[in-house]
């Protein structure tokens, strides 16, 4: 029987929420990695039992965790407990946590600074992994979006990581600057029709695309308007919060920007605003219905200075027209005294029919809708602040 596994990253650990295809009764397991910030947990589309997790701490730095059994057990890749300190292939263990920017003359660039909050140049400093995106085809290949913004790839199941330095090195890097949450690479989308094409997004730099599997990159921000940038045609500097795509139409992208909801019909070559009748066009997550590529979801947030829902009402907004015309989805969601936020990686959809939609809040609730957003119910109410939500649809 079909089912779903919801992978939740929180400020104090990871949780797994599982249900059958009806999505009415849920089992909750966790916390895994209790007390650590879990920025993201995601499963491999090629092997649902292969999960990757970003475990991080201001005290102890970055840890990468991997499960090969659907989350029952975890280990740091290349470091199973009780085994010798060097793998049979000679790979030094303990390397899975090592994210070192590429400055080599062959593949890296002498890129050492980006713009800081005060406009001065600041050295690139690795802080944490925000997002892990497993390959669509190979369970051992996984991409990591990190702060300070860069893209890393592992092709050995997370044991070792190499920067795809062409992103930072393409030329605009010194103009990138951190948003309030840090200068993070938070979105990685792989084109299912062409694995050489990927889209990434950085706060606050913008969206970028590669057509050669990560070797070279270019900004794709034409049409974005950011009021804090003096140049209305600025190529970079835009605070993109999230990009989403329906796998059946990989050239159509939807974006929640710091302000404005945008869409592109040409793989990011140009963008048009589709905020329409939203009560506010500020927010963080955006996602697309699994089977209706013109149905999209956002969670409007009052402003960039307050970061909670307008009027204390938690409302998901759905557009069935690819934007511009939006309807509020409120059934089962708190419509008074609600002042939580929904962060950029904290919304996901399953691929059952009807499509399930999920999101987590900074108040620790994870809400699920088994009817494409018409009605909602909390799976859990009292987790630590939710940083990320992903869903695996099980056969």
């Amino acid at each position: 029987m079909s089912g779903v596994r919801v992978l939740v990253g929180t400020r104090k650990g990871a949780f797994e929420l599982t249900s059958d295809g009806k999505r009415g009764r849920w089992d909750v397991s966790g916390p895994h990695f209790a007390g650590w910030e879990i920025y993201h947990v995601k499963g491999s589309p090629a092997d649902p039992n292969r999960l990757y997790a970003s475990q991080t701490s201001g005290w102890f730095g970055q840890i990468i965790q991997r499960s090969d059994d659907g989350g029952k057990t975890w280990h740091q890749p290349g470091t199973p407990p009780g085994e010798p300190t060097t793998a049979p292939d000679g790979t030094p263990k303990g390397e899975s946590n090592k994210f070192v920017y590429d400055t080599s003359p062959e593949t890296g660039r002498p890129l050492t600074t980006h713009q800081f909050y005060d406009g001065t140049q600041h050295p690139w400093e690795f802080k944490r992994v925000w997002h892990l995106e497993p390959s669509l085809r190979d369970p051992d290949t996984v991409y990591a979006g990190v702060e300070d913004a860069a893209l890393f790839r592992s092709t050995d199941g997370g044991k070792t990581w190499q920067e795809l330095a062409g992103l930072r090195g393409h030329g605009t890097g010194p103009e990138w600057q951190p948003g309030a949450g840090g200068m993070c690479l938070h979105t990685i989308l792989i084109d299912p029709s062409d694995p050489r094409r990927m889209f990434i997004a950085i706060s606050a730099a913008g969206a970028f695309r590669t057509d050669d599997a990560g070797k070279t990159w270019r900004p794709i921000n034409r049409g974005l308007k950011s009021q804090y940038i003096p140049n209305p045609e600025a190529e970079v500097g835009h605070c993109v919060h999230r990009i989403a795509m329906n796998p059946s139409r990989p050239k159509v992208l939807f974006m929640q920007k710091h302000w404005d909801v945008m869409r592109s019909d040409n793989a990011g070559e140009s963008w048009q605003e589709v905020s329409g009748n939203l009560p506010t066009d500020f927010g963080f997550p955006i996602d697309v219905h699994a089977h209706e590529p013109e149905t999209i979801y956002v969670v409007p947030i009052k402003s960039d200075s307050e970061h909670f829902p307008p009027d204390g009402k938690l409302r998901v907004y759905r557009s069935r027209t690819g934007g511009n015309e939006w309807e509020a989805l409120t059934k089962g969601l708190p419509q008074r005294d609600c002042f939580v936020n929904v962060l950029r990686d904290a919304m996901a959809v399953d691929s059952l029919d009807p499509c399930g939609v999920y999101f987590g809040t900074t108040g620790g609730q994870v809400y699920a809708s088994a009817d494409a957003g018409d009605s909602w119910a909390p799976i859990v109410r009292d987790l630590p602040a939710v940083l990320s939500v992903e869903v695996q649809t099980m056969p």
């Binding site: 701490s57 201001g58 005290w59 102890f60 730095g61 840890i63 407990p81 300190t85 946590n97 090592k98």
Partner: protein, 98 residues
């Protein structure tokens, strides 16, 4: 044998319950002790010292024999009581956060 007391989260990562006991070859210093710790528990690479700079992570401090050794040079000898195993070497996380 040198005894090292790890913070709770690092004990969990290393999958140990109590103090860690290490055999250190040659002079016992912060660097040689941490090298031995990471050799024995490779999953701790990067959690105490930065991978590249080998600098102590800023929210961690080192104590032994009632003294704060956090700012001692990494190649300075540790107190005899530590190198003899009479006193443990403490790695302590800052009290901070929520």
């Amino acid at each position: 044998m040198i005894r090292v007391v790890l913070p709770a989260h690092l004990r969990t990562l290393a999958r140990v319950d109590g103090d860690v006991e290490l055999q250190v070859e040659g002079p016992v210093t912060q660097r040689s002790m941490l090298d031995a710790l990471e050799e024995r528990y490779p999953m701790l690479h990067g959690t105490i010292r930065d991978h590249v700079t080998q600098q102590r992570r800023p929210f961690l401090r080192f104590f032994a024999c009632g003294e704060d050794l956090s700012h001692e040079p990494p190649d300075a000898p540790l107190p005899d009581a530590v190198s003899s195993g009479a006193e443990p070497f403490f790695i302590i996380g800052a009290i901070a956060g929520g």
